[in-house]
């Protein structure tokens, strides 16, 4: 099924671990029993103060949170997306839950063995487990593990810091690099941006902070495994990545979550800032629990991801493979502020069963000679529904703005739906925008052709689907591509027959 040529230096364990992921049922439906320190249920100023105090935050951070909270109280949950779900009861959620804090973790040996066990079940490659366990000389993928909202392990700090790269939890950044945080936090996604981003600003528990100094090419791919673990805990990560002038960084985000009865809310905010000549590649594989066969349970994934190509000739590339969650609602976007800046969005969204996804991107052209490219591949099966929603806009000063958009949808079966809403706005006449869209049905004849050659219906589907998404898969870093290809196949299991 796969024809991916594994590069010699690519971890064989990664491939092996991915193979072991294969299974009929969602395998990550387990709960690790780690003692949590949990905030009181519901949301109030007191809870926010509790979170802030837990994290020993300075006064300005608490003020920032409270400001967001006051703003949030005046806002209403938006309803324009093509998704339907019971509204979260915000006063019945827990907003903070941390694995019992250890004073300081110099050595990763101290990490709870159950946590390591969890990583194993998740199929996190052995090498990265070794990294987590603090084995020297393990693979050069730095992992900042966000486990139940708090970073418990950050690795390769040394090698990165030699390069001048800062890669740490955002809580730590608040303590150690307050000036950088103050300068950039909320500068891409303002506190008051939208209902969920504002909520996140008030209660974010943890997340990742990355700073690449001028002229530095980050010596390794940075990778974070997110995982939602405690029951009834809203997950509010906050990620801030800054690439200073002429810097380069590639960041990988991968997600899985344990099986739950309750719906879990996930409302992260990701802010990327690229200064003059800088480049950021941000790749996501999202595989949160999509709910059972009747559509119960599953994660609500309401994320705000935005990049500011602030500098001249800066470049940001979003690549996402979205296979999980009951409801997905996200639009990784680029503000092309700097002249000649470039924004890219490559997306694969797979929905099966009762999943719903409303996803896409926004490319806001502000600077001259800016260009953007959007390739979106949507696959809908079962009784799922998905929507591509995109905005490409050129402002009056964005002379010679260029965009190419291609949106392809593949339908499997006749009970699913795919919708495309491309919004295009050009406020100057020199802008040139192209849009192509196709919708195809995975045909009985195509399947039969494959089966006549000896492929089972399932592997024929996997092959056809992988062919469909190939163009985007090729944009992923190799480790992710192998994993993602498997995930796509797993997500569609049982969709033909």
């Amino acid at each position: 099924m796969t024809d991916i040529k594994i590069k010699d230096n690519i971890d064989k364990d990664t491939v092996q671990a991915v193979k072991e992921l294969e299974g009929d049922k969602y395998k990550y439906g387990f709960v690790t029993d780690i003692e949590s320190e949990t905030a009181p249920i519901g949301l109030s100023e007191e809870v926010i103060k509790f979170i802030s105090a837990k994290k020993n935050e300075p006064e300005w951070m608490l003020e920032w949170r409270l400001q967001a909270y006051k703003r949030w109280l005046t806002m209403d949950e938006p309803e324009w997306a093509m998704v339907s779900y019971p509204k979260p009861k915000f006063q019945e959620l827990y907003y903070y839950s941390a694995p019992k804090a250890r004073p300081e973790i110099d050595s990763l040996d101290e990490v709870d063995p159950k946590l390591l066990e969890t990583y194993k079940k998740l199929g996190i490659p052995i090498r990265e487990q070794e990294v987590l366990a603090g084995v020297k000389g393990a693979a050069k993928v730095a992992v900042d593990a966000v486990f139940d909202s708090v970073s418990v392990a950050t690795t390769f700090r040394k090698e990165l810091s030699q390069a001048g790269v800062i890669f740490c939890s955002i809580s730590e950044a608040v303590q150690e690099y307050p000036e950088l945080v103050k300068q950039y936090l909320g500068s891409v996604v303002p506190q008051s941006d939208n209902f969920y981003a504002t909520l996140n600003s008030a209660v974010f528990s943890d997340g990742t902070f990355v700073y690449i100094p001028k002229g530095v090419r980050c010596p390794m791919e940075l990778s974070t495994y997110f995982r939602i673990n405690a029951a009834n805990t809203g997950q509010f990560e906050r990620t801030l990545i800054i690439a200073d002038a002429d810097a380069y960084v590639s960041y990988l985000e991968g997600c899985t979550a344990p099986q739950r009865d309750e719906n879990q809310l996930h409302a992260a905010v990701v802010e990327l800032v690229a200064l003059d000549g800088a480049e950021i590649r941000y790749s996501t594989v999202q595989n949160w629990y999509p709910g059972d066969e009747n559509g119960n349970g599953g994660i609500y994934n309401f994320v705000t991801k935005r990049a500011d190509c602030r500098g001249k000739k800066s470049k940001v590339s979003w690549t996402q493979v979205e296979t999980g969650s009951a409801v997905t609602w996200k639009y990784p976007s680029c503000i092309l502020r700097g002249d000649e800046s470039v924004g890219e969005f490559y997306s694969i969204a797979v929905t099966n069963g009762h999943q719903q996804a409303d996803t896409g991107t926004k490319m806001i052209h502000l600077g001259k000679n800016t260009s953007s490219r959007i390739i979106s591949k949507g696959i809908a099966a079962g009784v799922s529904n998905q929507t591509y929603r995109g905005l490409v806009s050129a402002h009056a000063k964005a002379l010679n703005a260029r965009n190419f958009t291609q949106c392809d949808s593949l339908l499997i079966g006749d009970k699913c739906g795919a919708h495309t809403f491309p919004y295009i706005e050009a406020a100057n006449t020199s802008a040139r925008f192209e849009h192509e869209a196709t919708t195809t049905k995975l045909g009985e004849d195509q399947l039969f052709y494959c089966r006549q050659r000896g492929l089972s219906a399932e592997s024929a589907t996997a092959l056809l689907v992988n062919g469909f998404v190939r163009e985007v898969m090729q944009k992923l870093p190799m480790e992710f591509a192998v994993e993602a290809q498997k995930l796509v196949a797993i997500s569609l299991e049982g969709s033909v027959g």
Binding site: E444, Y449, Q452, R453, G454, L455, L463, F468
Partner: protein, 249 residues
């Protein structure tokens, strides 16, 4: 080898095949000729298990195995191959990837070991050379942007790689110019063997100049109405099917 008895097939509730019987022993090549709408493609689709074709009666066996009880991929695993009249495009899937996956699934079905990549590549190179298929074409997504003739050559290439026991060629000659016809026929003849059987479905006698059949059957109105040697094809070319059609109507 292939034994069909009193086969009845419906599509969309309409009976197309009306009690067809046919026996192709190992080592023989049989041709089926008939006018449009006689049920030629219905026969090949029903034998290979296309889900839109419903067998309502009769039997079909390959080497004693009841084909009708098997899934399409299992029939392929048993060695049944269809060269499609209209080969489908498989976007994004390189030809060799497709073929290697298919071959290994078939081998798995038969309990054989997977073919290693070097073994597979060697076989592919040889077969491609025989069929005058450029290496570059094998790297392209299967059939995408191929001409009609290239698609047909690619079917025969797949046939060579999968080494089936029984082959059905459904109007393989349509859309081929004379050079392509020769290349394809050579590829088919190369596959002839004492343990292989073949059914060649065609409109025209022309193909049978290149692929010499042991027997020729005339299919009209879903039934075999006449059987003879290669000379029957020549006669049909001259006189058409009128006399048979008058018979059945």
């Amino acid at each position: 080898m292939l034994k069909i008895k009193d086969l009845k097939v419906e599509i969309d509730g309409k009976q197309i095949t009306n009690g067809l019987s046919l026996d192709v022993p190992a080592g023989e090549v049989h041709a089926i000729m008939g006018p449009n709408g006689a049920g030629k493609s219905t026969l090949s689709n029903a034998l290979t298990g296309h889900p839109s074709y419903h067998v309502t009666g009769g039997t079909a066996e390959l080497n004693g195995k009841n084909l009708l009880a098997l899934e399409p991929e299992e029939r392929a695993g048993e060695g049944l191959f269809l060269s499609f009249q209209y080969p489908l495009e498989i976007p994004g899937v390189p030809t060799l990837t497709f073929l290697r996956t298919a071959l290994n699934e078939q081998r798995k079905y038969r309990g054989e070991a997977e073919l290693s990549v070097p073994q597979f590549m060697k076989a592919a190179k040889e077969a491609a050379k025989r069929l005058k298929i450029e290496d570059e074409m094998l790297k392209r997504p299967l059939n995408v942007g191929f001409s009609g003739g290239e698609k047909k050559r690619m079917e025969i290439f797949q046939m060579a790689m999968l080494e089936p026991k029984f082959m059905i060629l459904d109007e393989t000659d349509s859309g081929l110019d004379i050079d392509a016809l020769r290349i394809v026929s050579d590829g088919v003849n190369y596959m002839r063997a004492p343990n292989r059987g073949m059914l060649v479905i065609t409109h025209y006698q022309r193909l049978l100049d290149y692929i010499k059949p042991d027997k020729v059957h005339v299919l009209v109105d879903g039934k075999i109405v006449d059987t003879g040697g290669p000379e029957l094809a020549l006669e049909l070319e001259k006189n058409g099917y009128d006399k048979y059609e008058a018979l059945v109507s």
